[in-house]
Amino acid sequence: MNRGMLTQSLGSSGITVPSIGLGTGDRFWDSDISFSEKVNLLKYGIDLGLNFIDTAEGYGHGAAEQIRDDLCAMGLPAVIVASGAGYMYSGDGPTHHAVQDVALMRTLPNMAILNPSDVASTIAFVKEGCSRRAGPTYVRIEKGVLGAIYPDGHDFSRGFSVLTSGEDVAIAATGIMVHMALEAAEKLTASGVRASVVDVYRLKPVDAQALMAELSRSRYIATLEEHSVIGGLGSIVSESAADYGRATSIKRLALPDKFAFSYGTREWLHAQDGLSSELVAKQIARWVTGK
């Protein structure tokens, strides 16, 4: 809804956004107006059509309570765009690693969580967040160039997409790890283990029943995410399996429950945690074939 807010196009995405975005770094959360005035300001802005908010994961931690109480409790339709998922800031140590953000955001009622894996999904999810009225949206975005997965105009309403099929193992992946999953699946298929890859781009709300129906088409289920093993996609799928059938054996590939005091490229950090397309393929093959 636009009540006089000036708008412009967001790059070449075709999305129309307000000409003013709201930055939620230091100055927003700790500005010298009172808490309730901040909330009123936010609501007033949103009423006027201000629904484009920039933040980073580190802000989210400190402001999580505010997000919960102010945005979620009051069902304010705001989009929180978070850059720096996982180990993106790979040289900056654990303070900059967004590896608990999904676990955190999952606990917030009415919050939608979207984790795009390419440009088309990134654009679609920001658009979706802008028009979502049921509550705020958290979009975990990437820097740099990822290969295209989806065509423009793809229907993302289901919350997940089957990218390749394979009846031996289903790899549920999200975000940047979808690309690793696809490479791993190729390696697996080449070695005789037929793997499917399911991009679970909407981490909340999840249609758990539909997701489990899809994943259960394969004999084994693995999950792959650039997030702590606690509270992310692996936990979600574990719950879904238990809720809609039987708890089943799930290989949860994720970042360990540890602070990563290592510095290097993102790929190097992944490899330290046993996550590369080759290592993932090996682990899954060993698990599936028992050798």
Partner: protein
């Protein structure tokens, strides 16, 4: 560690200036080699670091970095780490081998500080925390009647974090005289100017109202820095020291230019920077 007596102030200033120039050269080379670094914000506080470690301000033993009665320095603006790595190398606290790991895969020196590095007290990266943590240290010192002090070195934009003000209120109320906050007031953040009309308006008045002592100094003048440091020794309140600095100080084309927060010099610029920093006094 070289020490000077009062009659030797001029010699001391020359020594510190040479040391600071050396640190800046090392920072430049390390950043250029790794292809990453926050040069502007590191150069603005280099003279402060050099004063702390070489000017006798910080009670500290490089051979015994965990000495219980040491003064603790907590760095808020941890992205200025390259200056500290150079200093720790020079003081023999880290090896040349470790020093060269900066920017390498699996290297143990990051673009932020962590406590596995001897001399580092706090895992940096999250702004606005060190004032509060240093207040906790100063509180412990007061409880135990110890002489050690807690220094928190922060950027000026960092002062916008609310947690800093919780610490300021707390420290004033509890009269934490062992707490010293130093602000690297280079008047630039990543994207903007940190002017004199907002948070920093009437800053001295604001801090004094919280029962802090307030000092302001030229953050690039060693005599001034050491003069303030001397006065800090007899503090009976927490101290806020605002050091007026220049982002990118020491390299003419970087000075006061916002882009040098994390920009890297091109080949010609690197040559020019080296030339400027190579000049002996």
């Amino acid at each position: 560690m070289r020490t000077f007596d009062n009659a030797d102030r001029a010699a001391q200033t020359r020594f510190l200036m040479d040391k600071a120039r050396w640190v800046r050269r090392e920072v430049l080379e390390a950043a250029a080699t790794a292809g990453r670094g926050h040069l502007g914000g590191t150069f603005s506080c280099t003279d402060l670091f050099v004063s702390l470690y070489y000017g006798g301000v910080l009670r500290f033993d490089p051979r015994n970095p965990r000495w219980p009665d040491r003064d603790r320095l907590l760095v808020g603006k941890g992205h200025a780490c390259l200056a500290l790595y150079a200093i720790f190398l020079d003081l023999g606290m880290i090896s040349r081998k470790r020093y060269e790991e900066y920017g390498r895969d699996g290297g143990t020196l990051g673009a932020q500080l962590d406590i596995t590095v001897p001399g580092v007290e706090y895992n940096t990266g999250s702004l606005g925390q060190v004032a509060g943590v240093a207040a906790g240290i100063a509180l412990a010192a007061k409880m135990d009647s110890r002489q050690c002090r807690a220094f928190a070195l922060m950027g000026d934009a960092e002062l916008y974090e609310g947690a800093v003000w919780e610490a300021i209120a707390f420290a004033g109320e509890h009269r934490l005289d062992k707490l010293v906050c130093i602000v690297d007031r280079n008047r630039l953040s990543v994207t903007d100017v940190v002017g004199d009309d907002g948070l920093f308006k009437d800053f001295a008045t604001k801090l004094r109202a919280f029962d802090w002592d307030y000092y302001e100094m030229d953050g690039h003048s060693f005599p001034e820095i050491l003069g303030v440091a001397e006065r800090l020794k007899t503090a009976n309140k927490p101290s806020m020291v605002v050091a007026n600095t220049v982002k990118g100080k020491g390299v003419s084309f970087m000075e006061n230019e916002i882009r040098w927060h994390h920009a890297m010099p091109g080949p010609d610029q690197l040559l020019l920077a080296r030339k400027e920093l190579g000049q002996a006094n």
